[in-house]
């Protein structure tokens, strides 16, 4: 710390600290049930980002006839951790993950019926897209994927081996190249260029945003819903919708071990209802019901593609995200090469 250039008063960055405490609360996980009454209880286990949305949804659900007096125990955390916790015995009546492979883990453990995705929305409760979060006013004029790989642009995206959000981000980047009529090899080269410009790979989407808000990087790849939430919290950011991006689809299911299946099913039914979907939309999530989506003006990318168009999560997860041998692991390894001596 010898190169001190200027001394200034330390301004308490209360917003940042508050966010830190929020993160802490998140890592502590379980929030005790609020207000006991007759009407059943539901143990909700979900990935971390929809925590504020669920606060609004549960209040709204409790105001409905089916939800009257239903109490909740809620646990939020990284999607992969939550899935593992549930398979290891964390009580769960309703599970909501960031992406299908985490639901697959729970299905494999026999805790969710294999028919979970038979419903009209195929088990998906919310949609979102991968967006760019940039500095206010977008000083670097970052508009397209190509802008991210320009020399000197500092990108932040979470570590794809620990974060579900990061997998969505990288598949958005990859799929966008295919949508631009590039070959798979060119799309992979783009991923390499993107990761070369990446200055931080925090463990989760929320820490990635924290890192960005603390001043590092020019752009962070994130869920659109997370970006909207940050903007609602008056964080100094601008949101850029890339011209080509992936449709994020978050799965939900009632477990086979649900203590009160009636209450759990009623809750999921509410989340998928027109009313529930409206609350989701108000919280920044894209509704899965087209008629509700039509009432909100979420930006429409020129080209929106799904994970299914890239082969589906099972195949993508193996091909790209297997540690050591996966395509993304190989890129990370090749980028690590020149720096190992220093």
């Amino acid at each position: 710390m010898t190169h001190t250039r200027r001394i200034a008063f330390i301004r308490p960055r209360t917003a940042l600290l508050a966010a830190g405490f929020a993160l802490l609360g998140l890592s502590l996980g379980v929030v005790p049930p609020a207000g006991a009454a007759s009407g059943g209880s539901i143990a909700l286990v979900a990935y971390s980002t929809p925590k504020p949305a669920y606060a609004a949804l549960i209040t709204a659900f409790n105001a409905t006839a089916a939800g009257q007096g239903v109490t909740f125990s809620q646990s939020f955390g990284p999607s992969g951790t939550q899935a593992t916790s549930v398979t290891e015995g964390l009580p769960a009546d309703v599970v909501n993950f960031s992406l299908d492979p985490d639901m697959a883990k729970v299905v494999a453990a026999g805790l969710v019926a294999p028919t979970w995705d038979d419903g009209p929305t195929k088990g998906i409760v919310t949609d979102s897209i991968v967006s760019f979060i940039v500095r206010p006013g977008n000083p670097l004029h970052i508009k397209t994927w190509a802008d991210l790989v320009k020399p000197g642009v500092q990108v932040i995206t979470p570590n794809p081996f620990s974060s579900g959000s990061a997998k969505w981000n990288l598949m958005a980047a990859y799929g966008a190249q295919l949508a631009l009529h590039k070959t798979p090899a060119q799309a992979l080269a783009f991923l390499a260029a993107l990761l070369k410009n990446t200055v931080a790979q925090p463990a989760s989407a929320s820490t990635a945003l924290q890192t960005f808000l603390s001043g590092q990087g020019d752009v962070v790849l994130d869920y659109e819903s997370d970006a909207i939430y940050a903007q609602d919290q008056n964080e100094p950011i601008s949101i850029v919708t890339p011209p080509q991006t992936i449709l994020i689809q978050n799965p939900i299911a009632v477990t086979t071990k649900a203590a009160d299946p009636t209450a759990a099913n009623a809750f999921v039914k509410y989340l998928l209802s027109a009313k529930g979907q409206t609350v989701w939309a108000e919280q920044g999530y894209r509704p899965v019901l087209p008629k509700i989506a039509a009432r909100f003006d979420f930006p429409t990318p020129k080209k929106l593609f799904t994970i299914a168009s890239l082969g589906g999560w099972t195949s993508v997860d193996t091909t790209f995200f297997t540690p050591v041998t996966g395509k993304v692991a190989a890129i990370e390894a090749s980028l690590g090469q020149p720096d190992t001596s220093s």
Binding site: M1, H3, T4, R5, R6, I7, A8, F9, I10, R11, R13, L16, L17, A19, G20, F21, L23, L24, S27, P78, G80, T81, T84, K105, N159, F161, S162, S163, T198, V199, A200, Q201, P202, A203, T207, Q210, T211, S214, G215, Q216, F321, P323, V324, A329, E332, A333, L335, G336, Q337, D339, T340
Partner: protein, 281 residues
Amino acid sequence: MADVVLATTRRRPPLGQRVAAVAAGGSGPALAVTYLSLLVILPVAAVVTNAFSGGWHGFWLSVTNREALAALKLTLVCSVLVAVVNSIAGVAIAWVLVRDEFAGKRVVSAIIDLPFALPTIVAGLTLLTLYGPNSPFGVNVAGTRAGIVLALAFVTLPFCVRTVQPVLAELDKETEEAAASLGASHAGVLRRIVLPSIAPAMLAGAGLAFARAIGEYGSVVLISGNLPFKTEVASSYIFSLSQGGDLPGASAVSVVLIALALVLLLGIGFLRRRFNVTEAA
């Protein structure tokens, strides 16, 4: 120190007497072993078992892939560096606290332990705010190895001060004065009188700091940037393995950390015994 004096002068409450009686009666060791087993030995054994669930081959593959090696090397180098730097800084701080009188000394002494109280993720966030891109001092170590060392130094400092402080306080000033009166230089007194006495405590502090540093996660991940092969520490790599569902791999890398800590702590124990022997002779 006040607590220690209190404990020896105060009469033991009846419950304490009863516990002492049970301990003297021979259940003490059994109690200690049971407690230690439940809290330390069993969890460590579970980690080791999990690490070898894929056999030796699986273990070897998990700990020798390039990303694991890079993370382990980075963690080891940073932790050793932090243990050495903090041992020296710890002695300096303990010296000031024991030998110097100044206003607010008690407050400063209390502040030393704050890194323990602060949740590590908050510590990480605070360090990133102070020494990141928006640093009010113009010091930006975000995304660098210096940032990792800084975070580790922050969380391990109390070990290095608190182990040395009581030993320094007990140190007989008259020996130093005698040496000085016999013509020993200031440096000579420090090297031949003070240092041998506090060396075991310094080593103990360094050992604790090292053991804590190699497993530290929360305070490091934010400021390090967590770039694989560059600034990804072992604990973070372990986290990503566990997220990816590779629990045996995560356990295998953890076993390497545990082994490193064990080797170092045993080595320090050996050195401490050597110092103590020299002292007695």
